[in-house]
């Protein structure tokens, strides 16, 4: 059961800013409610009002400009999954969105809500990290851009100030000649582990840029730049051969934390296993093949 609250439905950012200024910590920003309503039901947070941001015009837009892709904060997972633009420019993101929770959650849950809630067991932040995601935050004090690497500070903790609203996340699509994969593992409703890997191959057939992000195993999803660096210059074949040492390095670099999904050691081990698999899948894709291996309790996008 929910305790009573008032519901405000601003239609512009200034109206929203006024409400945030007026209500401060008595208010919660509300979009899809897929996380917030659960917390309210459980009594884990108490607020006097919800500020519904879904009626703020344009906040759900998915658009391309200047080579980047901007996804509005109130765009729903279902819209990401089905967006023609994203399927073309950020296909792995669209593919991952199709596997977020279930179709009902995807129909109401929003990109902004997911990122701002910062549940460690989430796919979206991990895959957005691999697209160099940058979050836009708006307040009366001005707009600021915060890279996702600095936005998610820890479990359920972000750099958003109380007077700010996330308006969008901006992604840098991978250049042509990039092979990528996302592996998601878990037996519970939320993922136990997510690995995003993408490598861009030069015309000489060598890795010119690599992006490796590991999520769910620690308090926040992380890019692993040192491991990415080790992939530079590798051919697709080299990459496949180096799956094991790369996985060892990733397991070493990952931040893991014990929770209901398992111990810190277990998650480090799973990081090793799934980075190894991700490297194998991506190396095959970079060579123009597809691995059709099936891993238990795993979704390969």
């Amino acid at each position: 059961m929910l305790r009573p609250f008032a519901l405000y439905r601003p239609t512009t950012l200034p109206e929203l800013g006024d409400l945030l200024a007026e209500h401060g910590s008595d208010a919660a920003i509300y979009a899809g409610g897929t996380e917030l309503l659960l917390l309210l039901k459980e009594g884990m947070i108490r607020v006097r009002c919800l500020i519904d941001v879904k009626r703020v015009a344009g906040l759900d837009a998915i658009a391309s400009d200047d080579g980047a892709i901007t996804i509005g904060a109130t765009a729903r997972h279902r819209a990401v999954e089905r967006s023609v633009l994203l399927r073309e420019r950020c296909p792995l993101l669209a593919g991952v969105a199709a596997h977020v929770a279930n179709v009902r959650v995807r129909h109401v849950g929003t990109v902004g809500g997911n990122l701002a809630f910062a549940d460690p067991h989430s796919d979206l932040a991990t895959i957005c990290l691999a697209y160099d995601g940058v979050v836009s935050l708006w307040s009366y004090a001005g707009e600021r851009q915060v890279p996702l690497t600095e936005f998610v500070l820890g479990a359920y903790e972000t750099a958003r100030r109380e007077d700010e609203i996330m308006t969008s996340v901006r992604l840098r699509p991978w250049p042509r000649g990039t092979a990528g994969a996302y592996l998601k593992f878990g037996v519970y409703e939320r993922p136990t582990l997510g690995v995003a890997l993408a490598v861009t191959m030069s015309s000489a057939g060598q890795v010119s840029e690599a992006r490796l992000a590991v999520g769910c195993v620690g308090p926040r999803p992380l890019r692993l730049p040192d491991v990415e660096q080790e992939m530079i210059g590798a051919t697709a074949e080299d990459l496949g051969d180096a799956a094991k040492p790369l996985a060892d390095a990733a397991a070493e670099a990952a931040e893991t934390l014990a929770d209901l999904h398992g111990s810190a050691d277990y998650k480090r081990e799973m990081t090793r296993v799934f980075v190894r698999r991700a490297v194998a899948v991506v190396a095959a894709r970079a060579a123009g093949r597809d691995l059709h291996e099936r891993y238990p309790h795993t979704v390969v996008v």
Partner: protein, 165 residues
């Protein structure tokens, strides 16, 4: 909440199973409770209460939502379909017939949610593959009979439509 300066109550005008309904509801009331307690439609069930199990699935403008975690005011102006609206009088919907024919029901608690998800899927994809059905129904849990017969029923229901077109 006693503070009347805040919009804690909203008027809700929507269509439920083809019938126009107007209600005054507090902002914090969930769609499932409006359906069950105010409108007497008990087909949607409260079970996990956290959008995992699918027993409370209803369609809002054709899209499946978990009515247990969906504010009733969100349905203002929408067209709601619950399992009570699937059939017509004494005539069952072909999906319901297919569930019976394939034995896709055991205790029945999850069935209304399964049917509503299946209805939404068939509207999107009139002839879904088994794989597509399994993916779409990932969020509808059955704890007694399993999923094979449910998938059989939905796939069977899809095929004749494909043949007709």
């Amino acid at each position: 909440m006693s503070d009347t300066r805040t919009p804690s109550s909203c008027s809700l005008a929507f269509t439920v199973n083809g019938r126009a309904v107007t209600l005054e509801v507090p902002a914090h009331v969930l769609l499932l409770d409006v359906l069950r307690e105010r409108l007497g439609l008990k087909g949607a069930k409260r079970s996990c209460d956290m959008q995992v199990c699918g027993a409370c699935t209803v369609l809002v403008d054709g899209s499946p939502v978990s009515s247990c975690t969906y504010l009733a005011v969100e349905a203002d102006g929408a067209d709601i379909l619950t399992v009570e609206g699937l059939g017509h009088g004494d005539t069952l919907d072909p999906l319901q017939e297919a569930f019976i024919e394939h034995g896709a029901v055991q205790c029945g608690f999850c069935t209304s949610g399964m049917l509503m998800s299946a209805r939404a899927l068939l509207a999107e994809d009139p002839a879904p593959t088994r794989e597509r059905v399994a993916h779409y129904l990932r969020g509808n849990l059955c704890r007694c009979t399993g999923y094979t017969k449910v998938i059989d029923a939905i796939v069977a229901c899809g095929r004749p439509q494909e043949a007709r077109t």
